[in-house]
Symmetry: C2
Subunit: 303 residues, 2 copies
């Protein structure tokens, strides 16, 4: 490769939430240099139109390119849903979103589960009482912001996988549920509270009743609520974190393309925001699981 | 006056909320032409920094001036708290915020109540059990977004009034409480729900325990929750809606300055947003109490 592998990976999000993705990438790729951009002046994106989200994300991509990144991760589910294809078309750099990896993981689990169910039935020669099984329907639930859910990006991605691999012959029911209050609850610091439990119950009750095999956390804030969602979900339901999945995918990509940074290099992390670096530093630590000690630069040129 | 009184009143807000102020102005000044701008692309302002809010509100003010408005109402409590003085300095047009009218009303009620209490005591020659009264402390509570509360704009305005009129000799305790979840709850359409009641209880319990004479609704979304707040508050507590108060103030200003529009003129209402006019039309009707039938224009020039 002619490229310089020490160039950083650029990760961006509408605000703080993408730090849960940053955290996963940092954990899995600890020799990589990382740049994070949080559009804290214009957060949240989840209730904005496609046009506006596209305009904002193009501005940020251009900014990251100026920082000489080797790869861009769109950590924001909303941008990944609504703008990823356009960004890939317009910019000549590998760009990864969080939807495909999340969808791929959900689909993989579903195939595994379906196979193991079939094995149990075959081995034990019993008739399963589960009507969902009898009718051959498997359920995946997606939760996210209004914009992500409205885009149907996760459904489309899962259906594409199912059509592509339709030898598996799985009849999939996809439940998509917008949960717009979860981000403000996390940002209010109410992660472990009865109000949050009630709100999660309010959103998830109809989802849980469908007994889904997995619930995909289609918003970067939701990993913060994973424990409560697990408490509330059925024991058999798996929770899928798209951030974790994209980190794995990037690692594989860097390995395949011989783009991994040298293990002997001294690495750095840089943070840029469009507003309020102090608040970002303070709240960001919760998302990232450790203190942010670096200087946080404010970028307003394109805002 | 040399000015053309048919020129519209310009009202702006970070998004939809200011429509509760628009509604009050429309009700009280039904011969006025009105222009509303909602910055729906960059909403909410309540958790942004002063610098960003100032930059955004200057852009919007310039836009409204281009529409030849005769007066500007900053319907947003956050902008009124953080940027009003700068806007007044920079632009040569009457600009009204919602803080001063709300604070003035709260202070007036407090003086009235204090006087009536004194009369009761004097007449009945009894000793009041109320320790707050004995110590001469009267309480006003303010609820709003993090930015509005953080600015202490309401406290400062009330304290200024008290110092100015300190013949009244009132010892005021001001409780300020940021309630960041209330806007998302209203926007989620959960006005009449147990979750909203629980969230209001969570925020207001410590406020109510101080037995305030009044609670000032320091956010344009909160009039939508007035009934629930009233249910929860003590019978003696008055709820003050800053939007209602600014409408009265503007009417008085227009009368004093002979700037009222002719009662025979045909009036219009115009709506501008920075994103998603359809959503604005749909949700805006709840705030304004009637359907928005006008075309809603999208302005992105300065965004």
């Amino acid at each position: 490769m002619l490229t310089d592998n020490s160039r950083p990976i650029g990760i961006f999000d509408s605000g703080l939430g993408g730090l849960t993705v940053f955290k996963e990438i940092r954990q899995l790729l600890r020799y990589e240099n990382l740049i994070y951009f949080g559009d804290t002046a214009r957060v949240p994106y989840g209730n904005k139109s496609k046009e506006t989200i596209l305009r904002y994300s193009k501005e940020i991509t251009k900014f990251l390119l100026k920082q000489n990144v080797k790869l861009i991760v769109v950590a924001c589910n909303t941008v990944s849903s609504l703008a990823l294809d356009e960004l890939k078309k317009e910019f000549d750099i590998p760009i990864f979103g969080v939807i495909e990896p999340g969808a791929r993981c959900a689909y993989k689990k579903l195939i595994e589960r379906s196979r193991s169910k079939n094995n149990i039935i075959t081995n034990k020669k019993t008739i399963c009482e589960d009507t969902a099984y009898l009718s051959g329907i498997e359920t995946i639930a997606i939760i996210g912001t209004s914009a992500t859910i409205g885009s149907k990006a996760y459904s489309d991605a899962i259906n594409r996988l199912n059509n592509y691999k339709n030898g598996a012959n799985i009849n999939i029911k996809i439940i998509e549920k917008a949960c717009p209050l979860l981000v403000p609850l996390v940002e209010e610091g109410l992660v472990d509270s009865d109000i949050t439990r009630d709100v999660i119950k309010y959103y998830l009750q109809p989802v849980i009743e469908s007994n889904p095999l997995s619930i995909v956390l289609g918003c970067t804030h939701y990993p913060m609520l994973k424990e409560i969602i697990l408490d509330f979900a059925d024991d058999n339901t798996e929770i899928i974190d798209s951030g974790k999945e994209v980190a794995i995918e990037i690692k594989n990509f860097l390995i395949s393309n011989k783009m991994l940074n040298s293990k002997t290099a001294k690495t750095y992390e840089k943070y840029y925001v469009s507003d309020d670096p102090e608040k970002f530093k303070l709240l960001g630590s919760n998302f990232i699981g450790s203190n942010i000690t670096e200087h946080i630069e404010v970028v307003i040129d394109f805002l």
